[in-house]
Every structure is written in C-alpha cells, then in structure tokens.
C-alpha cells in the first residue's frame, strides 16, 4: 500500500516496512524514526548504514550478528532503539523486517 512519508508517496507493506529500498532517503528515515519517537543521532545513523549494507550483501540480520558487528554492541543497540530494536531499526533503514528468532 501507499503511504505519504516525508512528503513522498512510498510503498510499504501492512507492517509499515518499505517494499522498495530505492524509495528510501535520509528524510524518509528521519520521518520513520520520528514515528517511532526516536531522535536520530550520529550513532543511530552509523548503525542504520551498517544494517543497509548488510542487507545489500544479503546477510541475514540477527541480534547475535549485531553484537558481533563491531559497529555497536547489543546493550547500546537496545538503548538507541528501545522496544524491539531490530524491528524498529530495520524499518527506519527502509529494509525488510528480519525473520530471525535470535
């Protein structure tokens, strides 16, 4: 379905995840973060770029992998993206929700 994010028409799935990453830009990221009540800092952006890069390389994302990323650790990840960090961060990054149990 279509949703207006940061003044643009964006295609999202029923959970609000972008279905076409080419529609994502930093303003869209900012708007999605505002929806989740997360003001984005430079640290947030480092992690979002990391997630997008992993997605590009088709790496399956999990909390364990975040812990081993070298970009952040699990504790900080939960602090920066409270409440379901992996789900929230991937949504802001414009990439699919990871189907991971760990």
């Amino acid at each position: 379905m279509e949703k207006i994010i940061a003044g643009k028409n964006i295609t999202v799935n029923e959970e609000g995840y972008l279905t076409d990453f080419s529609q994502w830009d930093e303003q869209v990221g900012e708007a999605l973060a505002a929806e989740a009540n997360i003001p984005l800092s430079a640290r947030h952006w480092e992690i979002l770029k990391y997630l997008q890069n992993e997605q590009k390389n088709q790496v399956a994302l999990s909390i364990r992998r975040i812990g081993k990323s070298g970009v952040t650790d699990i504790k900080e990840f939960y602090q920066l993206f409270p409440n379901a960090p992996l789900k929230t961060a991937t949504k802001i990054a414009g990439i699919p929700k990871p189907a991971s149990c760990i």
Partner: protein, 160 residues
Amino acid sequence: MSENNGAIKKMMIILSKGTLENVYAAFVLANGARMEGIESEIFFTFFGLEAVHKKKLEHLHVATVGNPAMHMPTMLGGLPGMEALASSMMKKEMEKIDMPDVHEFLDILTASGVKLWACKLAMDMFHYKKEDLYEGVDAVITVGDFYKQSQGEGVHMLFV
C-alpha cells in the same frame, strides 16, 4: 484479555531443567520477547540452575534416554558416550543456524536486559554459592520474591 487488548508486557520464564533442548527453549523465548519489546526474566530452579553454573553451563547435554523424539532405542541411548555424541551433533547444527552457545547466549540475554534469578531453595539443595554462578545472575531469590517480581498487567508466566 481485556487489559491492553491482551498485549504481553512481560514474560516470566521458569527453567527447571538442565538439558540442552530445554535451556535453549527458555533462552530463545526470553530473547525473542526482548526482540519484540517485551520484558523478560528467567528464574532458574532445580536442574535449570546448571544453565547458570559457571562450571556446568558449557557441558549441558541433550537427553538421549526417555526422549522418544530422538528416535533412538532407549538401550542404545544409554550406551556410554551416546549422550555426548548426540549433544555435539546438536551443537554443530545449532552453530550452523547461528545459534550461540550457552555462555554467549547468557551474554546476549543480559545485554538485552533480561533479568536472571537463581532459586534460593535449589541453591541450598545443591550447595551452590552465588559466586559459583554466571556473573550476570542478578540475585538469589525465593519463590515469593519471584511472584512479587511478576506483579503487573500483561505479565505471563511460563514453566519449562
């Protein structure tokens, strides 16, 4: 179900078994809750304490006897070394699907904000001391403390 549309706010998981499959079940459920933004806490009691005992947590096994789902004759499962073999095979499979070992899993749980409690009664029974336990264990508490900890709306309790 009326309160908050039945939303789950916190999972209180009681782990009473020390076999690998039960420990992993409890850990995956606790971690999965945190990943969904749900609080979670684990109460380790009886053999479940082995999962947080420093010297034992690296040596947990799957049960090969009395476990029909292993599809192994009970007599065969009882042979020396069989449990260790089955356990090492299972651990290999788990690594393949990116499943951490018990120690690393405990690190992930504590970093994710999962509270870990050890049962006082079981500690006394096994003559364990707090310093025998994994350092991330929050405290040794009574069952009454655990119930107090479980108060609130949307709290669910699960026994493994």
